[in-house]
Amino acid sequence: MLEVHRVDVHYGDIQALWNVSFRVEDGEIVSLIGSNGAGKTTVLKTISGILGLTQGSVMIDGVRSDTIKAYQIVERGVSLVPEGRRLFRDMTVLENLELGGYIGKARPRKDENLKWVFQMFPILDKRVHQLAGTLSGGEQQMLAIARGLMSEPKLLLVDELSLGLAPLIVKHIYMTLKEINRPKNTTILIVEQNVRLALEISDRGYIIENGRITGEGKGSELLRSDKVKSAYLAMG
């Protein structure tokens, strides 16, 4: 599905990613964990084409995607739910969702897709005509995910969805992500500081430190590993 191969990324003169390689298979949930500033968001921005890479390649379904424009990557079936949600605050919930399904192939199935996301996040159905900026934090995060799903992505990238939200809401949203993963076989790549939660729902995980991948394994294995326990879970 997704193959990131020996990628370097620079912000001006400053190098943010060093030789980053990892892969995500069809239908998996994979999490990328690491502390603040480790380069997690940079990885997602690179996959979605917003940041250019200086070295290496990104392949989606075996086709290189780092050579095309960011807006075209959405048409390849990749959708990013960005950090901080980045909703169109002065537009209604419905308009945000419609923009999520802006690309040509998603437009004819707008009604079906709306039904689908409302089924997952019923609260959005009640708020359809409200401005996105007036929603609560949890509702905004749900809207951001729903908006990301409206383009019917094969690969959903989710950046720090727990940021600023109550633990219960975060848990609820993660459970919903699992529900999204199964029936439509949507592959999900999660970036998260809340390591325990992310690894609990993930099939596999990668650890990123200072812009380098330093570990990988099954979600449950990583949770038990000493490295993760001491560095991220404050145990031992």
Binding site: Q72, P82, D90, L99, Y102
Partner: protein, 290 residues
């Protein structure tokens, strides 16, 4: 009292024109943070184009809207590619400053070209209904002014519907709110900016045709830009409905100035309003936030 109503109705008829004058500027500024002060120059050029076309064909000037609007759309398209596309990578503040410099240069070029081609003499398109008025209980309403009001309402409503009902219109609004998030939706932001900019130019054609029906000269471009900026501040950035209200409001305030002090002070009242709004309500009359 009748005199006041008469002056006020002239003010409101002028106000409709002001809304149209500000519309393109407001759209371009809202979507890409380009302060296109050359907008008044475009309207002036559109007025001369209409004058020219009328001189050779003697067809109804309002019909020329159908010609001038697409023509200016194309000019906008070309100028964006040549002059303004390269500004897109700048941060917001730099976009305002650089576009201001470029478009001020354009404004000077436009008005000097107009002097070169048509001299600085006053011109006006004179039709059979020029100067004809509709008498409503003693208040005289010129047909041209009423036509302007109708066109302003139609054009602004049409633009509003376009921006709220079509995918492309929504994409324009999304781009105006957040370029990066719009990209993540699969929206081609540079194409949206190109089209929005060209629509802004096309929208200069409509007030241009109406301007040609009154006396005008090349220097009017500065005055028109001035009005557009006042209406933009009144309306609040990015508010299309606000532009309609702002235009009428400016017209009414000018009318009050004319009634209370005298015709020479008409411009002064608009500028005082400009300063007051910036001091006390910088988000504009209709705007929600700065």
């Amino acid at each position: 009292m009748l005199r006041f109503i008469q002056i006020l109705s002239y003010g409101l008829l002028n106000g409709a024109l002001y809304s149209l004058v500000a519309l393109g500027l407001s759209l371009v500024f809202g979507v890409m943070n380009y302060l296109m002060v050359a907008h008044g120059g475009l309207i002036m050029l559109a007025a001369y184009t209409t004058f020219w076309a009328f001189f050779y064909t003697h067809m109804d000037p309002f019909l020329f809207i159908l010609v001038v609007t697409p023509l200016f759309f194309i000019i906008g398209w070309i100028l964006f590619k040549v002059l303004f596309q390269s500004l897109m990578k700048f941060p917001e503040g730099e976009k305002i400053k650089n576009s201001l410099l470029i478009s001020f240069g354009l404004l000077l070029i436009f008005s000097n070209l107009a002097i070169l081609f048509w001299t600085a003499d006053e011109r006006a398109v004179t039709t059979i209904y020029s100067g004809k008025v509709l008498d409503v209980f003693g208040v005289r309403l010129p047909y041209i002014g009423l036509g302007g009001v109708a066109i302003a309402i139609i054009v602004i409503s049409a633009l509003h519907l376009f921006l709220t009902r079509t995918y492309f219109g929504k994409a324009i609004r999304a781009v105006s709110l957040d370029h990066e998030a719009a990209t993540l939706m699969g929206i081609n932001v540079s194409k949206v900016c190109l089209v929005a900019f060209s629509i802004g130019f096309a929208l200069a054609g409509i007030p241009g045709v109406i301007t040609s029906l009154h006396a005008f000269n090349p220097a009017i471009s500065f005055e028109l830009t001035n009005k557009a900026l006042i209406v933009l501040i009144l309306a609040g950035v990015g508010s299309i409905k606000g532009v309609l209200i702002g235009g009428f409001f400016l017209g009414a305030i000018e009318a009050a100035g004319v009634y209370l002090v005298g015709t020479p002070y008409r411009e002064v009242f608009g500028l005082i309003l400009f300063v007051l709004i910036l001091m006390f309500r910088p988000q504009g009359l209709a705007g929600k936030r700065a």
